[in-house]
């Protein structure tokens, strides 16, 4: 069985039940969105998948591999790359070097890593900024850099944590087109956390809604935006 599977996954931080018996599946090749109000447990779910935090209960599998209990670098080696909601560039390194670090995951050869990085940077419109210090980039560019770096590791599954926040509508559309492209051409499965509904509606084939750590709904995007429970806690009446 391929794809990503969460079964009854829970995580508690002190008094807060951040993730509460959440189960969902992300089929191989799919684009799935994880939405919900702030504090719903979306990023915690990502951290559980990525090995940053260990779940208290439940099981996370990627294909035949158990992910829970593995370390972040092992999760990456399993074929899962993630971006950080609060961007974490290697600030003093150049944009290109940032991506080369990601590419070195698949090759030990610096030359090969650099040409792989170049391709990614060109596709993400960062090539002209390759020599800049990553710390000097604007926030939207840094978000793009997060994506570029993650793609460098040649993942099968890409976890995107609010990479479209702060983008202008046209930029959002460009990013949406880009993700569709890599999904179609490279067969990369995508799980994204996103507040920008414009992007969610355009990208996702399947939407999962979290609230107070619980999964409250899932389904096709057009059905989700009409779901009364989702409207009440997250989207608001006017979204109908």
């Amino acid at each position: 069985m391929s794809g990503l599977h969460l079964r009854d996954v829970s995580k508690r931080f002190r008094g807060l039940q951040a993730v509460d018996r959440v189960s969902f599946d992300v089929a191989e090749g799919a684009i799935v969105a994880l939405i919900g109000p702030n504090g719903a447990g979306k990023t915690t779910t990502f951290n559980l998948i990525a090995g940053v935090t260990r779940p208290d209960n439940g099981e996370i599998r990627f294909g035949d591999m158990r992910l829970d209990g593995r370390k972040p670098h092992q999760v990456c080696a399993a074929g899962i790359a993630r971006t950080f909601q609060i961007v974490r560039p290697f600030g003093e390194l150049s944009v290109e070097e940032n991506v080369v670090v990601g590419c070195l995951h698949v090759t030990h050869d610096i030359g090969a890593a650099r040409s792989a990085a170049r391709q990614i940077l060109e596709r993400l419109d960062l090539w002209s900024k390759r020599a800049q210090r990553a710390a000097s980039l604007t926030l939207p560019d840094r978000k793009r850099l997060e994506v570029a770096r993650a793609l460098g590791t040649r993942p099968q599954l890409l976890l995107l944590d609010e990479v479209m926040a702060g983008l202008r509508p046209t930029e959002t559309d460009q990013m949406v087109a880009f993700f569709r492209e890599i999904n179609r051409d490279l067969g990369i499965t995508i799980l994204l956390i996103e507040h920008v509904m414009r992007a969610v509606m355009a990208l996702a084939q399947h939407v999962i809604v979290l609230n107070y750590g619980k999964k409250i709904a899932e389904g096709r995007p057009d059905a989700i935006v009409r779901d009364p429970a989702v409207l009440e806690c997250y989207l608001g009446e006017e979204a109908v």
Binding site: E97, V100, R149
Partner: protein, 339 residues
């Protein structure tokens, strides 16, 4: 398109380095024996600063206890030579291994239990300190009374046994400082170097990109420790006496990193530039302040001025002197780590 990760050093940079090297190679034929001893100190600090910089400047792990690795190397090689007649070069290999193992142990302890930043630095001080106290009680290598290498045939140079005049040691230090600079440059343009810098910049992000940060941090500590140990060996054979107190002291650990910090942490030229500033500064102050000290009985006035100068340098050049200097020389490309 460039196929390597090494930033091209512009010809002016190469020329400058070549001139510096040429001057240093011919220096012993020209300078007085006092100046030669100062230059030996400069190279000594350039070498050790570079070794320390691998751990802090590249991998971002602060060590304030490098005297430990220095001392372990010094004592290991000195004991092997004095007690068993082993050549210091073999002793150097042994000392490097001992220090690398010690470094791996301290690193593993710190990194496994997530002791980071200044707390990790405290751990490194603690190990250096109790090794100092330990050596006070090892009578086999002299304890507090000190350990002395046999001083013989000083008039002939015996490189194999590191017995010789200051000029020989000068060239040994020069080879060491040059070699470690070349090694660091090579490392930085390798996968290892990229990974170290990534860890220094953001460890969590590095892990997310598949880097086993624990392993690479340990590698940095081991290499830094081994190179520092090699420096300790040459020091031991140059000085011919070892006492636990100055060898393992915190002051020595600080001296080692001061050059790299004032020159520019994380840069390749920083430790060299720093050594060339601080050592002559210290020596110059000693000479300049001698009358003052004699006249007013102001013991330690040199240290006060030295400290003041270091503070001023660090205040005005927060990232070290080298980045500033490189910009002035039009060698902006050489500021970054990968030069």
């Amino acid at each position: 398109m460039m196929t390597t990760g090494v930033a091209e050093v512009p010809w002016r940079g190469r020329a400058l380095l070549a001139v510096l090297l040429a001057v240093l190679v011919v220096a012993p034929f020209v300078v007085s024996s006092y100046l030669l001893s100062v230059l030996i100190l400069v190279l000594y600090f350039a070498y050790l600063g570079q070794a320390w910089n691998i751990m802090m400047g590249f991998a971002g792990q602060l060590s304030l206890g490098h005297a430990l690795y220095f001392g372990l190397g010094a004592y290991t090689a000195a004991a092997l030579y004095t007690k068993f007649g082993v050549t210091p070069w073999a002793g150097m290999a042994a000392g490097a291994i001992v220090s690398a193992v010690a470094g791996a142990f301290i690193g593993a302890l710190g990194f496994r239990f997530r002791i980071g930043g200044v707390y990790f630095a405290l751990l490194t001080i603690a190990f250096a300190e109790f090794t100092r106290i330990l050596f006070d009680h090892i009578d086999w290598v002299g304890g507090t009374a000190g350990f002395f290498l046999p001083v013989s045939n000083r008039d002939t140079n015996d490189l194999w046994n590191l017995r010789g005049d200051p000029t020989m040691f000068y060239y040994v230090w020069l080879a060491g400082a040059g070699g470690v600079l070349a090694l660091c440059r090579m490392l930085l343009s390798s996968r290892l170097g990229y990974y170290w810098l990534a860890i220094r910049e953001d460890e969590l992000a590095a892990q997310a990109l598949g880097i086993n940060t624990f392993r690479y941090k340990i590698a940095a500590v081991m290499l830094s420790a081994a190179l520092t140990a090699c420096g300790g060996v040459v020091y031991a054979f140059y000085n011919n006496n070892l006492f636990p107190e100055p060898i393992f002291s915190v002051a020595r650990s600080i001296d080692m990193l001061l050059g790299a910090v004032t020159g520019g942490v994380g840069t390749l030229m920083g430790p060299i530039v720093g050594a060339f500033i601080l050592t002559p500064l210290g020596e110059g102050l000693t000479v300049a302040l001698e009358p003052l000290q004699d006249l007013f009985k102001l013991d330690g006035i040199k240290q006060v001025f030295y400290g003041l100068c270091v503070v001023l340098i660090v205040i005005f050049q927060r990232h070290g002197v080298w980045p500033y200097l490189a910009r002035k020389l039009g060698l902006r490309q050489l500021i970054g780590a990968r030069t």
